[in-house]
C-alpha cells in the first residue's frame, strides 16, 4: 500500500501539450535515424567518410578532368573520362541503325508516349476522356510510326536499335504482361480443372527455364519446326518470349495479392448478385493489384532490363551500342567505362522513375488514412 487513498477522481481533464523538441523536427529526426545508438553513430560517421572519399574523385573523373572535344580516342589524353564520342555517336545510342531521315518518326513516337502513359497513370489530367482512348490507340500509332507502311517508308525491325529498341520492347512487354499475368493468376485459382492445369503448367514451365534458353528456342529451333511460309519477325519473337516470361512471374506476384483478399470480400460480392468477372473487376482485383504493386513494379523493372537480351538476335540496343563503340578502332580502350555509364544512366532513370511512381501510387491508393 502506498498510503494514497483508494478512491481518487479527476475534476479536470488534462490539456494536450506539444511534444518535446528533441523528438520532433530536424533534431528529432536525426536523433531517431542517424544517432539513436552508438552503433548507429559509428555507421553514420563511416558512411559520411566513405562519401567524402569517393564522391569528389568521381566528380573529377566524370566532369572536371574529362575530355569533351575530339574525333577519336587519341584526342582523349587527360586524366578523366573521355566523352568526345558523345557528339558524333549519341544518335546511335539512341536510335541504333534506324535511318536518319526517319528519326522524326521515332522521336514523335516517344513524344506521344508521354501523354499515352500519362493518361493511364494520372487521373486528373485535362481531356481525360479522350486521353484514355488515345492511350488505347497509341500502340497502333507507335507501330505505324516506327515500322512505317501506308505511305511511310518501311523500316525493317533489324534496323531498330539503341535506346528506342529498349523502350519499344520494354513497353510492349510491360503493357502485355500485366493483363496476361492477371489472367494466368485467375486461371491458377480457377475451379475449372483444364484452365487451372494449363495455367499451372505454363507458369511453372516458363519460370523453370532460363530466359536465354527460351529465347534460343524461339530464335533457332522454332523455324525448324514451323513450315517455311510461316516466318515471324525475329524482333516480334523476342518480344513475345520476354513478355510471356514476365507474365509468368507477374501471375505469381498477383496470385499473392489475390490470396491476401479475405474470403468475406468474395462473399459480399456474391451475396449482392455480382457475377465472377464483375466481382473480380470491381472488388477483388482493385484490392489485389494494390497490394501487389511492389511486386508488379519489380517485375516491370526486371523485364525492362531483360530487353538487353535482344543482342542474341544480333540487334544492338543501347548496351549493344556501348559494346560496338568499345571495339571500334578509333575508340578502342578509351571508352569502356564511359559508354557503360551512359547505358546505365538511361536504365537507371527509367527504372528509378517506375519505382518512384509506384511509391506515389501506393500512397494515393491508401484508403486507410487521409
Amino acid at each position: 500500500m502506498t498510503g494514497q487513498p483508494f478512491h481518487r477522481s479527476r475534476a479536470e481533464m488534462l490539456q494536450e501539450r506539444p511534444a518535446p523538441i528533441t523528438s520532433v523536427g530536424v533534431i528529432g529526426w536525426m536523433r531517431a535515424n542517424l544517432f539513436s545508438t552508438w552503433l548507429n553513430v559509428a555507421l553514420t560517421l563511416s558512411a559520411l567518410a566513405l562519401l567524402a572519399l569517393t564522391v569528389p574523385p568521381l566528380i573529377d573523373w566524370t566532369f572536371l578532368d574529362a575530355t569533351f572535344a575530339g574525333s577519336a580516342g587519341k584526342d582523349c589524353t587527360g586524366e578523366g573520362a573521355c566523352w568526345a564520342w558523345l557528339d558524333q555517336r549519341i544518335h546511335q545510342f539512341v536510335y541504333g541503325f534506324y535511318p536518319a531521315e526517319a528519326y522524326w518518326r521515332a522521336n514523335l513516337a516517344v513524344v506521344l508516349l508521354v501523354p499515352a502513359v500519362g493518361y493511364l497513370l494520372f487521373a486528373n489530367l485535362p481531356y481525360a476522356r479522350y486521353g484514355r482512348w488515345f492511350s488505347l490507340a497509341y500502340p497502333v500509332i507507335a507501330a505505324f510510326l516506327l515500322v512505317g507502311g501506308l505511305g511511310l517508308d518501311v523500316v525493317r525491325t533489324d534496323q531498330f536499335g539503341g535506346f528506342v529498341l529498349n523502350l519499344v520492347a520494354g513497353i510492349t512487354g510491360i503493357v502485355l504482361s500485366l493483363p496476361i499475368g492477371i489472367l494466368l493468376a485467375l486461371g491458377r485459382r480457377s475451379r475449372m480443372p483444364i484452365v487451372r492445369t494449363f495455367s499451372v503448367a505454363f507458369i511453372e514451365f516458363i519460370r523453370g527455364v532460363p530466359l536465354i534458353t527460351l529465347l534460343f528456342v524461339a530464335i533457332i529451333l522454332l523455324p525448324i519446326f514451323l513450315p517455311r511460309e510461316v516466318s515471324l519477325d525475329q524482333l516480334v519473337r523476342v518480344m513475345v518470349i520476354i513478355t510471356l516470361f514476365a507474365s509468368a512471374y507477374m501471375a505469381e506476384v498477383i496470385r499473392g495479392g489475390l490470396q491476401a483478399i479475405p474470403q468475406g470480400q468474395y462473399e459480399a460480392g456474391q451475396a449482392m448478385g455480382l457475377g465472377y468477372w464483375q466481382s473480380m473487376r470491381l472488388i477483388v482485383l482493385p484490392q489485389a493489384l494494390k497490394i501487389s504493386i511492389p511486386g508488379i513494379v519489380n517485375t516491370f523493372i526486371g523485364l525492362f532490363k531483360d530487353t538487353t537480351l535482344v543482342i542474341i538476335i544480333g540487334l544492338f540496343d543501347i548496351l549493344g551500342q556501348a559494346r560496338l563503340l568499345q571495339t571500334n578502332q578509333d575508340w578502342l580502350g578509351k571508352v569502356d567505362y564511359e559508354t557503360f555509364l551512359l547505358a546505365a544512366l538511361f536504365f537507371f532513370v527509367i527504372c528509378f522513375g517506375m519505382s518512384r511512381y509506384s511509391i506515389n501510387l501506393e500512397k494515393r491508393l491508401d484508403t486507410t488514412r487521409r
Binding site: E267, Q270, M272, G273, L274, Q287, T367, T368
Partner: protein, 258 residues
C-alpha cells in the same frame, strides 16, 4: 420503404417466401445440417440462436447459396436453388446479407459501396443509385460519412453502412449473420437500433444472433439450433420463459446468467 406495410403481420394468404424442406448438408464428412424443415412467411422476423458450430450460420448461408446443400429443397420467393446459375443470380438480387465482419469494400467510399450492386446488377443509372444510397444512409443515420472510406469509420458505423448497402438493392429478405458479434459493446446498440427500425418496415428478416433483448423485442419466432438440427422453435415469450428441451434450457441458462 413503404410504412403502410409495417402494420401487416407475417404470412397471410401467400405462400411462404422461404421454403426449406429436408435440407441436409455436409462439410466433407461432417454432417453440418440435418433434416432442416423451415417455412418463413413474408414479413416474418426470425431469430436463430444456438451454440457455436450448431450450423445456424450455414443454414442462412444456404438461403442465398453462399453454401451449397447436398440434399433437400430450398425455394426462395418461388425460385428453387439448384445448380442453375440464373436462379442463383435471381435469388441473390432479392436477398440481402449482413456479415459478422461487415465485409465492406475497403477500396471504395461508403457511397460507392452502396451504389456498386444497384449500378452493376440492377443496371440503375448512377444518379438514381446515389439518391437511393443517400436515402438509406440517412435511414441508418450516417449520411455525413458518405464520402469516407470504410477504414475511417468505427465498427458500429461500418456495420450500419453494410446494412444500408444491402438495403440499396431493395431486397425482399434480409439475412443477418451475427451482425453484432464483432462489435465493441458500446456500438452494439446503434446497430440493433437500425435493425429494430428495419423490422418496423415489415422486412422479412432472418437474424443469427445471441442478442436476446433484440429477439424479445422484434422476433415473431425464435429458433434454437444444436448439432445441425432445429431443436426448438417458439414465439419469443414462451421460448424464453418456458423452454421445453433440456438443451435449450442449458443454452439459455448459459447466455442469460452472466
Amino acid at each position: 420503404m413503404p410504412e403502410a406495410e409495417a402494420e401487416a403481420g407475417p404470412g397471410g394468404a401467400e405462400d411462404p417466401i422461404i421454403q426449406i424442406v429436408g435440407l441436409n448438408k455436409w462439410f466433407g464428412a461432417f454432417h453440418v445440417l440435418r433434416d432442416i424443415d423451415l417455412m418463413v412467411e413474408a414479413r416474418e422476423r426470425i431469430v436463430i440462436c444456438g451454440p457455436s458450430g450448431s450450423g445456424k450460420s450455414t443454414l442462412i448461408r444456404c438461403i442465398n447459396r453462399l453454401e451449397e446443400h447436398q440434399e433437400g429443397r430450398v425455394v426462395v420467393d418461388g425460385t428453387e436453388l439448384t445448380h442453375n446459375l440464373k436462379n442463383i443470380d435471381v435469388i441473390r438480387r432479392e436477398v440481402g446479407m449482413v456479415f459478422q465482419q461487415f465485409n465492406l469494400f475497403p477500396h471504395l467510399t461508403v457511397l460507392e459501396n452502396c451504389t456498386l450492386a444497384p449500378i452493376w446488377v440492377r443496371k440503375m443509372p448512377k444518379a438514381e443509385a446515389a439518391d437511393i444510397a443517400m436515402e438509406y444512409l440517412t435511414r441508418v443515420k450516417i449520411p455525413e460519412q458518405a464520402d469516407k472510406y470504410p477504414g475511417q469509420l468505427s465498427g458500429g458505423q461500418q456495420q450500419r453502412v453494410a446494412i444500408a448497402r444491402s438495403l440499396c438493392m431493395r431486397p425482399k429478405i434480409m439475412l443477418f449473420d451475427e451482425p453484432t458479434s464483432a462489435l465493441d459493446p458500446e456500438m452494439i446498440k446503434e446497430v440493433l437500433d437500425v435493425m429494430v427500425d428495419l423490422a418496423g418496415t415489415g422486412m422479412t428478416m432472418l437474424v443469427v444472433t445471441h442478442e436476446m433483448g433484440f429477439a424479445r423485442q422484434v422476433a415473431h419466432r425464435v429458433i434454437f439450433m444444436d448439432e445441425g438440427q432445429i431443436v426448438e422453435q417458439n414465439e419469443p415469450e414462451t421460448f424464453f420463459n418456458d423452454p421445453r428441451s433440456d438443451r435449450t434450457k442449458l443454452f439459455l441458462s448459459q447466455i442469460l446468467s452472466h
